[in-house]
Amino acid sequence: VTWFFRKLKWLAQRRAKESELQDELQFHLDEEAADLQSRGLSSTEARSGAHRDLGNLALVQEDMRAAWTWVWMEQFAQDVRYALRAMAASKGFHGFAIFSLALGIGANTAIFSIVDAVLLRQLPYRQPEQLAWIWATRTDRDKAFFSIPNFIDTRDRQRAFAQLAAFSNWGANLTGSGEPERLSGVRLSAGALKMLGVRAAAGRTLFEKDDKPTNALVVMFSYGFWQRRFGGNTKAIGQAHPQRRAVHCGGRVATGFYDSQCGDRSSHSIAVRG
């Protein structure tokens, strides 16, 4: 490894070392010329004889330098410089080539992100390999939503799954404290969170009795939304909403449930009713 540091040291003192190479070869030329002169040559003959003996001065210096530097590294640097010059010479063509590459790489990255999330990575829930998404069928289409009575019938009579839970997209306006806000989230049957193994970081998740239509709606916020809208205030949890008595802030979902599925879209919340 010491040779490595010797080379580094040489590189650091490159300028001084360059002139040393010159001095060393100049000394050689002088010695050789003096030698030849002592054998009876004239001083000009001796000098040119010495030069002839040495050959190509620049080439010798290059070979001496090569002992100290990493030739492949220098050549690589040269290649890079050459490439940049060539690119500068025809900007349009190279710009287009780089643009095509960028587009290709970007498209691949985007596609892989989707493949990774959809196919490769497991869902962040308990026993994800046992999860399945089932649709209802109707005479006019294969993939139809379940009506709530249909869901209840299916849930109670099926034997293929240990549990069944329902969900649908849901949106609501949040008014009262501060700016009104449009929330988007999902409606869940009460058993869903328990089934997925999701626990509340604060407050509570859903109880079976929350499914009863006569009971108040329970809303769970995503962690991000709770932080953004309520500043992580625990007083926001378990509070009945002042304007619509039906809505009840039940708790918030642990980070990693909704957030990891949809990215941290902080406006997401989860509502429930039976």
Binding site: R6, H28, E31, E32, D53, G55, V60, M64
Partner: protein
């Protein structure tokens, strides 16, 4: 007066430089002349390969260089053997001797009858 010249074998120049420096520190020109003289002018070291070889050996740490005054009172780059270089020379020398013995045995005096 023409002398027969022998081409240096690949890799032997390093060995010759190390051997020359065992006698004491010396500058490039003197090293070249010494090799030429000691080999009875059979070997002539190309200047174009001598100096790169010296720097290669220095980079490897087998020899070290410093600027000193020459016999004529000029600044010259003197090379001397390092401890590492001395060790290297010993191993290179025994390798070379084994090699020349092996080649000598094969080339040996022609004797069609066998011994």
């Amino acid at each position: 007066m023409t002398t027969r010249r022998v081409e240096l074998l690949q890799g032997t120049l390093d060995l010759l430089i190390l051997r020359t420096l065992i006698a004491g520190p010396s500058h490039g020109h003197a090293i070249g002349k010494h090799i030429q003289r000691t080999s009875e002018n059979l070997l002539q070291v190309e200047t174009g390969s001598l100096y790169p070889a010296l720097h290669r050996l220095e980079a490897k740490g087998w020899i070290a260089a410093s600027w000193e005054l020459s016999d004529r009172g000029k600044r010259a780059r003197y090379y001397r053997l390092t401890a590492l270089g001395r060790k290297q020379f010993a191993s290179e020398q025994s390798k070379w001797q084994a090699f020349t013995r092996a080649v000598g045995l094969i080339l040996g005096p022609l004797n069609p009858e066998g011994s």
